[in-house]
Symmetry: C2
Subunit: 122 residues, 2 copies
């Protein structure tokens, strides 16, 4: 089973974490049958943390997990912290094929989306 | 002249601020003739700050400025800090029509973009 794990920073504000959960539901709907499981995890400040998120997907039968960093910039979190946490998940779930995609802000569609957002609010 | 001002958080990392500048260039290209001017500003830690960004666009002849918060969550920055800084720009440029769009993470295309990003990296 193919799984997608959206990783957000995590916040002390419950609303921000809930926003990620709502987004995760929308991603699951948008993914259709391209992913069997879609869930979210947080780098810090909220649960589940990344290793727990990976273990939960593995427990549900995921054989392959794509971790998508929901971050805008290639900062330390994207470059080092998320890979380190994902590595813990790999150690805990050695039979699962786990990889990390490019971070969200690097998506080539971002500029177009910003223009759309601006035009829609005129 | 219609202007678009992308507002990012700003970082101590020069690379992150430069990433926003590169994105701004791509947005300008993607905007075509929908916006006459496209520039970026930062909430903190980098320059120009929001009021200076607004004043620079006004000095270039902008009569209308749409401020697009390049943020993922509706946190304090989006809810309070950016509006406060934009207000300073309005005071400095009373003849310019200045408004703030919804923040980037609220764009309805975000879930689809996340799926595309994941599928593309398979």
């Amino acid at each position: 089973m193919n799984a997608l794990l959206i990783v957000a920073h995590g916040s002390r504000r419950v609303e921000s974490n809930d926003e990620i959960k709502a987004l995760t539901g929308k991603v699951a709907a948008s993914a259709g049958d391209q992913f069997d499981l879609v869930d979210c995890a947080y780098l810090e400040l909220a649960e589940p943390l990344i290793p727990a998120g990976i273990e939960a997907l593995a427990a549900k039968g995921a054989t392959s997990i794509l971790v998508v960093p929901y971050f805008l910039a290639r900062g330390t979190h994207v470059a080092s912290d998320i890979p380190e946490e994902v590595e813990k998940g790999k150690v805990a779930c050695p039979d699962v094929d786990i990889s990390i995609t490019n971070y969200f802000g690097a998506s080539p569609s971002v500029p177009e989306l910003l223009v759309d957002l601006a035009v829609a609010s005129r």
